[in-house]
């Protein structure tokens, strides 16, 4: 399955279907500003990534090395790219 499809599914599970319906999620959607994820939601999103991809993806480690501007600008496309690169 396409990484982006998997991640969109995780986003829906984390923030709830009815909130996702009001959003147009695309590769440019920012996690903080557009999806308005808080730290608890990002943690539960990370857990889903870990459960699905296993140890080959260190998503939390990748996030923890970011500075504030990188976190503010983090979007879906960047995560898809990170996961796809790490798996190849």
């Amino acid at each position: 399955m396409d990484t982006v499809v998997v991640l969109k599914q995780f986003i829906t599970e984390v923030i709830g279907e009815e909130f996702v319906e009001e959003m147009d999620i695309d590769m440019n959607s920012s996690f903080t500003r557009d999806l308005e994820m808080d730290s608890i939601e990002i943690v539960s999103f990370s857990e889903k990534i870990k459960a699905h991809y296993g140890d080959q993806i260190d998503f939390t480690g990748w996030l923890s090395n970011m500075d504030l501007d990188q976190l503010i600008n983090l979007n879906l496309g960047m995560i898809v790219e990170y996961i796809d690169n790490a798996r190849n």
């Binding site: 009815e18 909130f19 808080d38 923890s64 503010i72």
Partner: protein
């Protein structure tokens, strides 16, 4: 007897506990003054105390200061990392910069024995460091909001350190030590059990909630006495002005004519008409009101959190921004409440949560346990004892020098 100077930020939630311990210090015969850069109504100042507002010195900073205050309205719509920038880079550091000159003048002229700086009011400890005045920090919120940032988010930790060290250097303090907080004593207004801190560093002193600040707000007690349904207190605190109407609209949608009574602390002007089961006042005598309530809904402002558990009440916490999320996690961990993030708040969930909290006794039992940890922490008496001991021991140190 000693002279204590409290250095407070332009946010009432942080000022409030200092007014309570200040009142207790005055009652013991100490001299107490507060220093702040926004006016504070006389009614809030404990009798015998004095609030120093350096109006003339602030004229040149007034534009910047008003911009900083206005910027706070953006907080609720900011993401976590944006709020960190807003808080540290756009608020705490520039506020300290504005405070330093007039604060140092006050320190020189009044010569306090101890400067007590609020944890986000960096100028207090920085001025104390420069002038060689003993310093205590007060922390109204559970510490460790950031967790172990040095390891878990090294770049963010570095950004924080650089901003603080940059501020210190502007005022001639070089080197790697952080001096914007006291390393000798930090008085925290919650219990270590609630904060989830099992082995606090020795200078962190958890005294629990403090009370007793002047509050003369009027209230229609007769109307409250006639209420027969469960009483739910709702407060959004003193900030977050912009989202008040949206928040209370949700409450009206959920509870208009439901078998509960909502006692709300907010300006009634936001709606022309309130349902009959809503009692709404701009200002309330919160400490007197709380013991008569059955539960509380709030966003996690820390004074309301303290008032709630001091009375052993269950809570629905709807975190919006800032440290609310951390507080919400602590409430859930303690088992004394339910957390629903404000941005994901559905009317149906709001209703379910409120009736669950009112009907399931487990939350109330957990809240009463928390109350015991607050009581055991010592409150005003403990805070005063710590401050007196600190002042005395620092005096001896000065004499030995």
């Amino acid at each position: 007897m000693s002279k204590f100077l409290f250095v407070v930020p332009p946010f009432f939630g942080h000022i409030s506990p200092t007014l309570s311990i200040g009142a207790s210090l005055i009652a013991k015969g100490h001299e107490v003054r507060w220093f702040g850069i926004t006016p504070l109504a006389d009614a809030h100042i404990p009798a015998g105390g004095q609030y120093v507002y350096p109006q003339d010195d602030l004229v040149k900073h007034q534009d910047d200061l008003q911009k900083i205050l206005k910027r706070q309205d953006d907080g609720p719509s900011c993401s976590g990392p944006e709020v960190m920038k807003l808080a540290l880079e756009e608020t705490y550091v520039p506020v300290a910069r504005i405070m330093m000159e007039p604060l140092c003048k006050v320190a020189d002229s009044w010569r306090p024995d101890v400067i007590v700086n609020d944890c986000i009011t960096f100028a207090g400890a920085l001025c104390a460091h420069i002038k060689g005045i003993p310093c205590v920090t007060t922390t109204p919120v559970p510490p460790d909001v950031m967790g172990d940032a040095a390891n878990s988010a090294p770049k963010i930790f570095e950004w924080q350190e650089n901003l603080i060290k940059g501020l210190q250097r502007e005022f001639g303090v070089y080197g790697d030590d952080i001096v914007i907080h006291s390393h000798k004593m930090n008085i925290v207004f919650t219990s270590k059990e609630f904060a989830g801190v099992t082995e606090p560093m020795p200078h962190m002193r958890f005294v629990g909630p403090v009370k007793g600040r002047p509050n003369n707000a009027a209230f229609d007690w007769d109307r409250l006495d006639k209420v027969t349904t469960p009483k739910v207190f709702v407060s959004l605190g003193t900030l977050l002005v912009d989202i008040r109407a949206a928040f209370f609209k949700k409450l009206i949608d959920a509870f208009a004519d439901a078998p509960v009574t909502i006692i709300a602390a907010t300006n009634p002007d936001i709606f022309e008409h309130w349902p009959d089961n809503f009692i709404v006042n701009g200002f309330v005598p919160q400490a007197e009101l709380m013991p008569k309530m059955d539960m509380v809904i709030c966003h996690g402002g820390f004074n309301t959190v303290n008032d709630t558990f001091t009375n052993g009440l269950p809570m629905l916490i709807t975190p919006i921004a800032y440290d609310h999320f951390h507080t919400a996690k602590l409430v859930v961990n303690a088992g004394c409440g339910i957390s629903i993030r404000y941005k994901r708040l559905r009317i149906a969930d709001l209703k379910t949560a409120v009736f669950e909290l009112l009907e399931n006794p487990q939350y109330r039992t957990a809240a009463l346990k928390l109350k015991d940890t607050f009581t055991a922490a010592g409150g005003n008496d403990k805070a005063v004892q710590l401050l007196e001991e600190f002042a005395d021991s620092e005096e001896i140190l000065v004499a030995v020098d």
